[in-house]
């Protein structure tokens, strides 16, 4: 594995690569830009909501490099190469040559059933990874950032009507492109690495052979000189260290590049990211990093035990957090309970108010008059602006909406040098700078160094598109501190419930017997034989774990969840009870004091299936109910 910087210079003209740009009024195309600052407020003159610097998307870079490399390979007369990973050699001789786009198959043009060199370096169209391979693509290459200064210019062009020897009607086109301002050419720099030493010369060759990048070649745009600057030092430089020799760890992930975390339901051409990173994706990211870092990871006990489904670590979901570190050691990274509400008008600035105690009080009301006494405070509008409250959809540690940006990608048909029919995709990505937090629990002692090695390596990337540099992140590690004891939380909960009921003139013999359980992550109920269409939400399993007679209140939603096994290429789907759900269990005779060990075990072990991937993590007597119910 060797790292490099790819230097892309535009000696004349500039680039025109679309897909990530606001096109101002009057323009017809604009080069891709980063989103450097907040959208403006629409004041006169601020006609452009996002005025960021130009950049070169990694996907466009890879496409151009690959195209040149494929041509080189075919030119040697010794290698066969498919077109863009479709597995079909466009040269005469391949029975599928000239096949319509979309007839893709796994590439085997490299001989002995292996992919061609272009596919080994740039990736191929396939759903699973070979058992001896370390990654889908030998090359990891991120977006190229601008080096130095630039200016935006308008490039007009007009189509001529040959018959009248004048400009064609309605064919005046303005393109917005960046140009260099200084003496030197417009220059961009991208970071990357090649995972196999044998592929390094090929990558060098691809870079040297690449002469054009992007659109507008016939208009003097897109001409480039590409150079590779290899780094001698290996990319892994951070010394591995976990904060303690035992115990759970909390990781804080700051995205350095955009990330696309696969959602369970996606439209054919509009793919949205999840706003959280599932435990399965965390586990997968660490597994892939270790595969690249450890020579024989498949036989390394420390690696295998770390990732083992039964006795391995439990990789929790990572949820969005604020850019400023929350210094509370016992902070909870997870979604708000769905009982939490916020202002409809200004949700992020007018506070959060929880309604669990209101709901419990309302369930205790036995008459309309009692319900009226309960309902009045429960139906309170926002104390800051008097607007109605609605369910708060947010992560507990987040202070602003998760920032995303949408890019458009098009698959090119190399034979025709044009976009493939029906191959235009919008992808919604988590923006660089997004911070997410979560925990890894139950780490086997002898695997701690392996986990530290992966987390400190700098090559862990989350979600899809790692070969385009997506999902790369800085990871901070600290000890996960325990919450206050269950007894303390429960006693405080009882006091708050009693106060709420008293305020409504109600009493209850259930105080002490109610156990609220919050889903910290999605829950997939255990019964493997259950009908996939049935209504089981996990309440039965929670009752069994606690020894409760029933569920007094359930506030939960459902979501389709699933996973994709990169080894087998298989997808699994299931209906999960969504994270943030709240179940208030009712003990028949006992009080919570009698079941504290069970509650501790429930918090420690979780409930349901796929706990190694973070599912089924729960919290009893969530402190949130007490704290935020006072905010109103």
């Amino acid at each position: 594995m060797r790292a490099f910087d790819l230097i892309v210079r535009f000696p004349g003209g500039g680039p025109l690569i679309g897909g990530a740009a606001v096109t101002p009024p009057g323009f017809h195309a604009s080069h891709a830009r980063l989103r450097d600052r907040e959208p403006n407020d629409g004041k006169p003159g601020d006609d452009e909501p996002y005025e960021g610097k130009p950049y070169l998307p990694a996907t466009a870079l890879r496409g151009a490099l690959r195209e040149s490399f494929e041509a080189l390979l075919r030119g040697t007369g010794e290698h066969r190469a498919c077109a863009g990973g479709d597995g079909i050699d466009p040269e005469p001789g391949d029975p599928d040559a000239g096949a319509a786009a979309g007839a893709a198959r796994a590439c085997t043009l490299g001989g002995d059933g292996t992919p061609c060199l272009a596919c080994r370096l740039f990736g191929t169209q396939r759903a699973s990874i070979g058992c001896t391979e370390r990654a889908f693509s030998g090359l990891v290459l991120g977006d190229a950032a601008l080096v130095g200064s630039h200016r935006w210019t308008a490039r007009p062009s007009v189509a001529l009507a040959r018959a009248s020897r004048s400009a064609a009607d309605q064919q005046l086109v303005f393109r917005r492109i960046p140009e260099a301002t200084g003496d030197g050419p417009l220059t961009f720099r991208a970071e990357g690495r090649v995972n196999e030493a044998s592929l390094e010369p090929y990558f060098d060759a691809a870079a040297r052979a690449t002469t054009h990048l992007g659109a507008g070649r016939s208009r003097g745009l897109a001409r480039v000189k590409v150079a590779v600057e290899w780094h001698d030092a290996p990319p892994a430089s951070k010394p591995p260290a976990l904060p303690a020799s035992s115990g759970d760890v909390r990781i804080r992930v700051t995205l350095r590049a955009p990330a696309l975390i696969g959602a369970s339901i996606i439209d054919a051409n509009y793919r949205e990211t999840r706003h959280e990173i599932p435990g399965a994706a965390v586990r997968g990211a660490i597994g892939f990093a270790l595969r690249a870092l450890v020579p024989d990871a498949d036989r390394d006990p420390a690696t295998q035990d770390l990732l083992d489904a039964e006795r391995g670590a439990r990789f929790g979901f990572l949820y969005p957090a604020g850019p400023m570190r929350d210094e509370r050691k016992d902070r909870i990274s997870g979604p708000m309970p769905i009982t939490a509400t916020w202002c409809k008008g200004d949700p992020w600035n007018h506070g959060v108010r929880d309604t669990l105690f209101d709901r419990l009080a309302l369930l205790h009301a036995a008459s309309a008059a009692e319900a009226e006494r309960v309902a009045r405070p429960a139906a309170m509008p926002c104390p800051r602006c008097d607007r109605p409250m609605r369910t708060a959809h947010r992560s507990r540690l987040a202070s602003a909406p998760v920032e995303t940006r949408t890019i458009v990608r098009v698959a090119m048909d190399r034979a025709r040098q044009s976009a493939r029919d029906g191959q235009l995709f919008s992808q919604v990505l988590l923006a660089p700078g997004t911070v997410l937090e979560g925990t890894i629990r139950g780490i086997p002692t002898h695997s701690r160094s392996r986990l530290a090695q992966a987390l400190g390596s700098g090559i862990v990337s989350f979600g899809r598109g790692p070969s385009a540099g997506w999902g790369q992140a800085c990871i901070d590690i600290e000890s996960a501190r325990p919450l206050p004891s269950i007894a303390d939380r429960a006693a405080a909960f009882d006091r708050a419930l009693r106060d709420r009921l008293q305020a409504a003139g109600l009493t209850s013999d259930r105080i002490g017997r109610l156990v609220p359980v919050t889903l910290w992550s999605p829950l997939w109920p255990s019964d493997p034989d259950r009908d996939p269409t049935d209504a089981e939400d996990g309440a039965r399993e929670l009752c069994a774990a606690v020894g409760a007679a029933g569920c007094y209140l359930a506030a939960r939603r459902f979501a389709r969840d699933g996973a994709w096994d990169q080894r087998t290429g298989k997808m699994s789907t299931f209906r999960a009870t969504a994270a943030g759900g709240v179940f208030v269990l009712e003990l028949a005779q006992a009080t919570w004091r009698d079941v504290v060990p069970r509650l501790e075990a429930l918090e420690r072990d979780g409930v349901g299936q796929r706990r190694d991937q973070g599912f089924g993590q729960v919290l009893c007597f969530d402190p949130h109910f007490r704290i935020s119910s006072q905010n109103g």
């Binding site: 990530a20 606001v22 096109t23 101002p24 009024p25 009057g26 323009f27 989103r35 959208p39 403006n40 407020d41 629409g42 004041k43 006169p44 003159g45 006609d47 452009e48 909501p49 610097k53 200064s149 200016r151 935006w152 210019t153 308008a154 007009p156 303005f174 439209d267 509009y270 008008g345 709901r359 309302l362 369930l363 008459s367 309309a368 008059a369 319900a371 009226e372 309960v374 309902a375 429960a378 139906a379 909406p401 920032e403 995303t404 940006r405 949408t406 890019i407 458009v408 919008s426 269409t533 939400d537 209140l553 359930a554 506030a555 939603r557 459902f558 298989k570 789907t573 299931f574 209906r575």
Partner: protein, 499 residues
Amino acid sequence: MAGAALDPKQIADRVTRAVAAAGATPWLVGYDANAIQELITASGRPISMRGASEAIRAFDDEVNKDELSIFGGGGRGVVLARSRDEAERQQDALVDRYRAVTRGGVVATCAVPLERGGHAEAQSIRWLRHRLELAKDAALPPAGELPDAKQSECAYCRAYRGSRPRKRDEQIELVCAQCDAMLDRGRLEGRDPGDRFGEMSQSIADIATEGWLAVVSADGNNLGALFEALGSLVELAVVSSVIAASFRDAHERAIAPIPEAKRVTLMTGGDDVRAFLPPGEVLRYVPALVETLESEAARHVRATGGLLSKDVNDRLGKLGIGIGAVIAHVYYPASRLVEYAHQLEDSAKAACRRHDWRSGFDFAVVTTEDTMVGRPVRSTDRAALRPLAPCTEPWQAALRSADALSRIPSAQLTVLAAAPTADGEATFASTKDGARPEDAEGGELGNLLRYQVARSEAWRAWYDACGVDWRDPRAVFARRPTRDALELARLLGFQERSR
């Protein structure tokens, strides 16, 4: 004929009879469909979206046939039961029937005793409302078989397993049981006697103008407070019916000029309106909707006579609407567009609250992917146009200005952003902090603009339409087109093109 069928006194009589028939220990049973818009827009196909809307309408109609029904519409309603046991049976029956009609949809139900005397009836209604909110979070999950592979996903909604073959563009595709049933129902709707199927666009793309379509989402203003103020079941039934009828009539009248094959109306029950329209129709549809709604509400209020309390009458008489419209390419999934139109509707409603408008309208023309990221950002600057108050003088002025702006050749608008600007140089097109340049006349850029204005009749007409003297060098720069104005001109341009 719109609005002819509603007779508040008849409704009051029906409710009185229902209460009498419910006996001495009556219970109130409430229902409210969960995730109704997701259910309707899941397929993204006009026919099955229409089918889903009709399925919900059929469910409500069935509820309304019951002699103990108080009101049913828009996937929510209230019925009476004679006892607790009967209330529980009714709840189960409602859940089962809704699930069957929608092939897996979820309705939340709850029941409370109906108390009478003094304020007890009003308190019981509020109790039911609040319990229903809890019930929504405790309802069953939606039913449907999940796919075990990407290839087996329903070709329409992608949420469930596709098992029923359907032919589309000569291709066989598998759809799930829900989409299949909604497709059948949608095709049967609107057919003339003797026809096998009704007229309906096969695809959202058929509605579009040059690939663009508009999605409208509208909702009544301050209805939560209105329903909290209701004092009796008669008021509940009358107010619910008046609102439903007012919105239905207003929408039907506003949408009538659009050919049926060029529009898709999703379920318009209660105070919700969702519709797919050609973008050129938006600026005609919106004022028509607002005008008719406001007049219909006033007409119905007059017809209620003394059935409603003064407070409720006053609130109902001031019924207004928040409208959001997103204009985008058909490439985007229908559900995403509906979701963003709903956010624009929220923005319009917030403006109504802030400016004390009766009705408001906000819109966005999606020309870049990032437009739909996050909530709509709107300026508090006085020069900002969005959101707008339809059918007011500022609305007319904005349209006049947009009309003049749309006549300026688009290539000339590049002057607003095309000036070569070094990175970091403070000009209006690229500023570090978004602040305007110090030079009130706009420096070189101001000169460019003034040059354009002086030689272009269209530019001068635009400044005239805005009431700005184009000979004033400072005013030319200071009052140049804003982003809002350009967006409105773009929207108006669709209207011009459709002509």
